[in-house]
Symmetry: C2
Subunit: 291 residues, 2 copies
């Protein structure tokens, strides 16, 4: 049983900049668990703001400056390219009591850009490891974060009180917290998230190309296929900025992935099914890790 979060502050007003899957789902959680007494939304797309109000994700929509000035916590949950522009603006506006959280999938590039900002200490770089293949405020769902991990990145560059509030916020959402440096974070997420998307996009393209020529192929698609291409539904507006900012890590892992696939190819050419068998058994070790 998860009890409602008991805030030690009387009223915690939270602004969420970018009300999509990630920001919108945080809005739901923070309202439901009582951490936020009020949620203000800011989105570049007016239609998103309207949807977010209709769906009760946010209490009101305000222009960026007004929202930031009236909030205790500002969560920036835009695509990572937009963060490069929005975060300096937000940091320019905050005082020494306010806390800014960003929740992007890549860190090194962004945090290097922000390194010398006078209010850098008010920013806590975080990455709640949860999502779906859908995007926009209509994709926001309750309990998206429940029981998952969040990463707090380069915590030593943030003020202690700001980190504490970030930890409180994520714990209120029943998340586990882990700590990484920006470089390490970007390598790890490339392995457990970014390459999965590349693999899925490529698989979808390969099979869609065949479908064009043959048709009827998807009649036979089973749930296994659905599972491996699920991520191929993900939006390029979210993913291209991630691949751009984490390009070097993604390339390294893509090379390793292609090389593993090429080994499989060689085994097929040589009809070396004994080695192939051993490789599959080795891959089965993923059972111990993914339930």
């Amino acid at each position: 049983m998860r009890l409602p979060y008991k805030s030690t502050r009387l009223s915690m007003i939270v602004s969420i900049i970018g009300i999509g899957l990630i920001g919108g789902s945080m809005a739901i959680s923070l309202q439901e668990n009582g951490f936020a007494t009020k949620v203000i939304g800011v989105d570049a797309i007016r239609e998103h703001e309207k949807k977010a109000i209709r769906r009760y994700l946010i209490d009101e929509a305000l222009p960026l400056e007004e929202a930031v000035k009236g909030s205790d916590i500002i969560i920036v949950s835009t695509p990572v390219d937009v963060m490069l522009k929005v975060l300096p603006q937000v940091l320019d506006l905050v005082n020494k009591k306010q806390v800014v959280l960003e929740v992007g999938s890549t860190k090194e590039h962004l945090l290097t850009e922000l390194k010398s900002h006078p209010n850098r200490q008010r920013l806590v770089a975080t990455h709640p490891m949860a999502g779906t293949e859908y995007s926009g405020p209509e994709a926001a769902i309750p309990n998206l974060y429940d029981g998952k991990y969040t990463v707090i990145v380069d915590q030593e560059d943030s003020a202690k009180d700001a980190v504490k509030i970030a930890e409180d916020l994520y714990r209120s959402m029943n998340m586990n917290i882990t700590y990484l440096g920006a470089t390490e974070h970007d390598v790890h997420t490339a392995y457990v998230s970014h390459i999965s998307h590349i693999s899925s996009f490529a698989l979808a393209l390969t099979v869609l190309e065949k479908e064009k020529n043959e048709g009827r192929i998807f009649e036979l698609a089973s749930s296994g296929f659905g599972s491996t291409v699920r991520l191929a539904k993900s939006s390029p507006n979210m993913w291209i900025p991630i691949f751009r900012q984490n390009r070097d890590n993604v390339m390294t892992i893509l090379d390793e992935y292609i090389s593993t696939l090429s080994e499989f190819r060689t085994m097929l050419i040589k009809k070396d099914f004994d080695t192939f068998y051993d490789k599959i058994e080795e891959a089965n070790n993923i059972r111990k890790i993914i339930s």
Copy 2:
């Protein structure tokens, strides 16, 4: 609402040879919908037979010959390499009223081998397109086939009454039926099933290799990663025989897949994110196909 199947025959005794995920789940469905009045199990592993009895998948376990002789329908649901040995034995034993169904993932090799068998007409080659990453009788689940497609392959090589009974059986399980030639079947399943498994095995290996050196990497694994590597839990005992028998098709598609991934790699090298964006948008078309 699905109504219980009304059999036109008073008692339909079904033998299932190979009581794993596929055979065991068929056993559950055929008993629950009333199609089978009795299910006899045959498995090379005695422990599987015992488990299947304990789990009420089968009414009794018998030696192959006895089981075949006492059944109206014999379903062969072993790995596809075992089918090469078992199916001729079963066909040797059946009379002109009995029906043999095989449910393997590859067809061309097997059906070529069986082409000249005097009882070939009693065999209906089928492929119910459903499964999970688990195997063995403990993996058998109700409703695995509900609403999915089954393929009847090379139907013209089977007796009409046998095809009719196969159709009745699959319709009793609420499956849609489609018809393909063996060659076409093997190409299609290579695209919508076999390559997904290769992609997943390779992804699991790539990330497991990294974990060995770095550790802690899986703490961050989100549901997206879990989805793309789910199939990597699948048993080599099932999959190596499939890759062996469908080697040429799998190689062709693996080449196409590697080539798509290499295109992505080139885009990353050139920082050509505009083309990459277009490719992801194209991959998004999978939304129209996979719900």
